[in-house]
Amino acid sequence: MTAPLLSVRGLCKRYGAIDACRDISFALEEGEALAIVGESGSGKTTLLNLVAGALQADSGEVVYRMRDGAARALSSLSEAERRALMRTDWGFVHQDASRGLRMNVSAGGNIGERLMAIGDRHYGRIRAAALDWLARVEIAAQRVDDPPSTYSGGMRQRLQIARNLVTGPRLVFMDEPTGGLDVSVQARLLDLLRGLIADMGLAAIIVTHDLAVARLLSHRMLVMKQGEVIESGLTDRVLDDPQAPYTQLLVSSVLAA
C-alpha cells in the first residue's frame, strides 16, 4: 500500500495565549475530499493555511507525497520548491476571488498564468487551454478577454477554480468556496466542483461552515472547536450520527443538512 498523499502529524499553532490549532493529525488519500467544519474562530482557516504552507506551524509536520513518489516534509522544501509545488501540483481557491485572481488581467490571462509560469511559451496553446477551461467551468467563450472585475461573484469563483486546475494539480485547498454566493449560484458551483473532483481524481481539503457543502463535496470530515479536532469520520456518519455534543448541536442547528 502506498503512503497517503498528505499526512499531517501533531500540528500546533499558537497566537499568543490563543491555541489556534492544537495537536492536529490526519491523512488524506489521493482522490479523497476532506471537509473541515466548525464555527467561525475554531481554527479551520489557520489549519488550512498551515497545511498549505502559507503559515509556519509551531510544531508538527506536514508530509506530502510528491509526483516522483517521494514523501517530503513541507518544512524540508526550499522556498523555490514550495512555490513550484503551489503552482503546479496544488491549487488554492480563496473565499474572496480577488485574492486568487488578477482582477485586471483578462480571464484567459488568469487561466494561462500557471501555464506560462511552468514554461509554456506558445500563445496559441495557452489560449486553447484557457478556452477549454472556461467551457469546463461553464463560462461563455466570448468572455475570455474580459477581466474578472466585470464578472459576477459566481463566475469569479468558477474562474478561480479553472485557474487553479489548469495545470492538473493533485490537491486543491478551498477556503469557503461558496461563501458569499446566493443559494442557486452555490448549488451550481457545488455541482461543478463535485464533477471536477470526481473527473480529475482530485484530492481536496475544503474549509466550510456550511454542513450542506461538506455533505455534498466531501468523503470525510473533521469537526473543529477551539483549535481542536473534536470529531472525525466519514461525512455521512458524522452528519447522521454525530457523537460529540458540539457536533450534535451543530447538526441539529441546521435545517435538513
Partner: protein, 284 residues
C-alpha cells in the same frame, strides 16, 4: 585662492564611492537591481537624477560627455545635464556619438554603433519590470530571486489577446545573461536588439527608485516573446524627411493643423551626420 564651489562632478567622494560599489555589484550580476543610497540632486525626480548620479560616479577629467533626450542633443533635459557636468566637472562635451566616452541617455540608444571605449548611462524611471502585475516589493524581489518570471508573459499575453499582436512598444522586457529579467528603461523596443552583445558597458540608474543595474559588454540580452508571436522590431513605412534614413527610429512630427505630419530621425546626431555627408557628396 578660493575653494572650488563644488567637488569634482558635484557629488562628494564618499557618495561616489558608494555608487561605484553599487555599479561594480551591478556589473557582476548582470540585470540585477542593486539598491543604492540615492542622493537629492539639484533637479527634480524624473529628469534623470539616477543617470546623473551614475555619470557623476564614473566620470573623470578626461572624459567626453554626450547627453541625449529622446535621441536629441538639443532638448532642455540634455542641454541642462550637459551644462551641469561642464560646470561641476569641467569636462569636454560633445554631440558627436563617436567622440563621446560617456553617453547619458533618456529613452534612446544612439543609432551609431557603440564601441568598447564607451559607456552608455540610462536614466530609468521605473526599474522593476514586474511592477505592472505585482505591486509588492517583497514579492517582486522573491520572484527575481527564484527566477519566477511567468507573469511577464501574462503581460504579453494580454497584449496579444487585446490587440492581436504584442503591442508593447517601449520598456519592452528582456532577459539579461539568461537570468534576470529587466526593464531596459523606456527605450523603444526598436532599440532592444542593440542591447544584445553590445561592446559598450551599459549602466542604468533610477534615482527615485534607488536602483542601479547594468549590462556588461558583450552580454546576451533577449527580448521576451511567444513561440508563435516572436519579438519584432518596430518598422516604419516612412523614411526620414531630412536625411532619408530608413534604418533609424523615426519621430512623427505634426507640422500644421490640417493633419500634416512628417517623420524625422529621433537621433539628431545621426541625422545631421548623414545630411553633412550628403552635402559633401553633392559639393564634390
Amino acid at each position: 585662492m578660493t575653494a572650488r564651489p563644488y567637488n569634482f562632478a558635484y557629488l562628494d567622494e564618499q557618495t561616489k564611492r558608494m555608487i561605484r560599489r553599487a555599479i561594480l555589484k551591478a556589473i557582476a550580476i548582470p540585470g540585477y537591481q542593486v539598491p543604492f543610497a540615492s542622493r537629492e540632486m539639484p533637479m527634480p525626480y524624473g529628469w534623470g537624477t539616477g543617470g546623473v548620479q551614475v555619470t557623476a560616479a564614473i566620470i573623470g577629467p578626461d572624459d567626453v560627455l554626450k547627453v541625449i533626450d529622446q535621441g536629441a542633443d538639443d532638448t532642455t533635459n540634455a542641454v541642462s545635464i550637459r551644462a551641469f557636468f561642464a560646470k561641476t566637472a569641467d569636462v569636454a562635451t560633445t554631440t558627436d556619438t563617436t567622440q563621446a566616452t560617456i553617453i547619458q541617455t533618456r529613452h534612446r540608444v544612439p543609432e551609431t554603433p557603440l564601441s568598447g571605449e564607451q559607456i552608455l548611462v540610462y536614466q530609468v524611471p521605473i526599474p522593476e519590470p514586474l511592477r505592472f502585475l505585482e505591486p509588492r516589493e517583497t514579492e517582486t524581489r522573491t520572484m527575481h530571486a527564484l527566477a519566477e518570471y511567468g507573469v511577464m508573459h501574462v503581460k504579453l499575453y494580454e497584449d496579444i489577446a487585446r490587440h492581436g499582436h504584442i503591442a508593447t512598444t517601449y520598456a519592452y522586457p528582456a532577459r539579461v545573461a539568461d537570468r534576470y529579467i529587466m526593464d531596459p528603461s523606456p527605450i523603444p523596443k526598436f532599440d532592444n536588439p542593440k542591447l544584445d552583445d553590445c561592446p559598450a558597458l551599459q549602466l542604468f540608474g533610477a534615482g527615485r527608485e534607488k536602483r542601479i543595474y547594468a549590462i556588461p559588454p558583450f552580454t546576451r540580452v533577449v527580448s521576451l516573446d511567444f513561440e508563435d508571436h516572436p519579438f519584432e522590431r518596430t518598422k516604419f513605412d516612412a523614411a526620414c524627411e531630412f536625411c532619408g534614413a530608413t534604418d533609424s527610429f523615426l519621430d512623427e512630427v505634426v507640422i500644421d493643423d490640417r493633419g500634416g505630419r512628417m517623420f524625422v530621425c529621433s537621433d539628431t546626431d545621426y541625422c545631421e551626420k548623414r545630411r553633412a555627408a550628403k552635402t559633401k557628396d553633392v559639393a564634390q
